[in-house]
Symmetry: C2
DNA sequence: CCTTGACCTTCCCCTTACTGGAACCCCCAT
DNA sequence: ATGGGGGTTCCAGTAAGGGGAAGGTCAAGG
């Protein structure tokens, strides 16, 4: 499989896949013409990466998860620990965004939004 | 006021303030010795920036908001439009994080988290 | 056989919003 | 004069790729 094919099947872009090779996440073989030749195993790893990234894992998380994914003797506890840390980070982000949302929606609600220069949003931001 | 003082009062770091000068958000005067000399107006702009960034506005949003902040004749509608866009972006991020959270917490719940190699999290990520 | 267009390669710069560090200058107190 | 705690500039790096140039390759059509 060429890079275009695995890109389509994994949902990643060719650029991203080349980047993942650069940083050592995948190691495709090469054809005589220099084209990357992906085998099923590499494709599965890319699909794995695509999903893990979509769930918010960092590249370094993915590197750890991939090592566990490839290690048939891993303990599920190792995976669960990484996943739970990621869950907590997601929860923290949601909480932070929620606080932003509350403050901002309050300001927006107060603002007339007309032609007058009077603006509670700017006042709220500038108030010492 | 030197940069250390405004850093403390605005809640930004000196590094960040120098960066904001670099990209043209503030334009402090200079003392004879080359030190930045901040006046109250610049301090207020930095406080404004600190709050707006904390609410998730991008630097470019802040640039627009700051221009409106300084324009005594601005229409509140302009500010409200920017703020509402930001609100929508926050809502989208919350929704995306919520979806991640649901999927991941489901996987975590399924996982025994013991010494056995059997791991539903990895299975969930690798499943085609 | 030649060309055209789609695909592939490497390489380098760009992005966001800073942060860290090196090397150096300045001011005040001892 | 010296030590410490300011300040200054500039260079490099971060996460995770995206954009685009310059060029090699392949398959189909005329």
């Amino acid at each position: 499989m060429n890079i275009g094919t695995v890109a389509e099947r994994s949902g990643l872009t060719a650029k991203t896949i080349r980047y993942y090779e650069d940083i050592g996440l995948v190691k495709p073989l090469r054809d005589a013409n220099g084209y990357r030749a992906f085998q099923d195993k590499e494709l599965h790893k890319l699909i794995f990466l695509s999903r893990a990234r979509a769930l918010g894992f960092t590249i370094e998380d993915c590197r750890s998860l991939l090592a566990l994914y490839e290690d048939e003797t891993r303990a599920s506890a190792d995976v669960k620990r990484i996943a739970k840390e990621q869950l907590m980070q997601i929860e923290q982000k949601v909480a932070a965004l929620g606080a932003m949302h509350d403050t901002l929606s309050h300001l927006v609600k107060e603002c007339a939004g007309d032609d007058r220069p009077d603006c509670p949003i700017l006042e709220g931001l500038g108030r010492g």
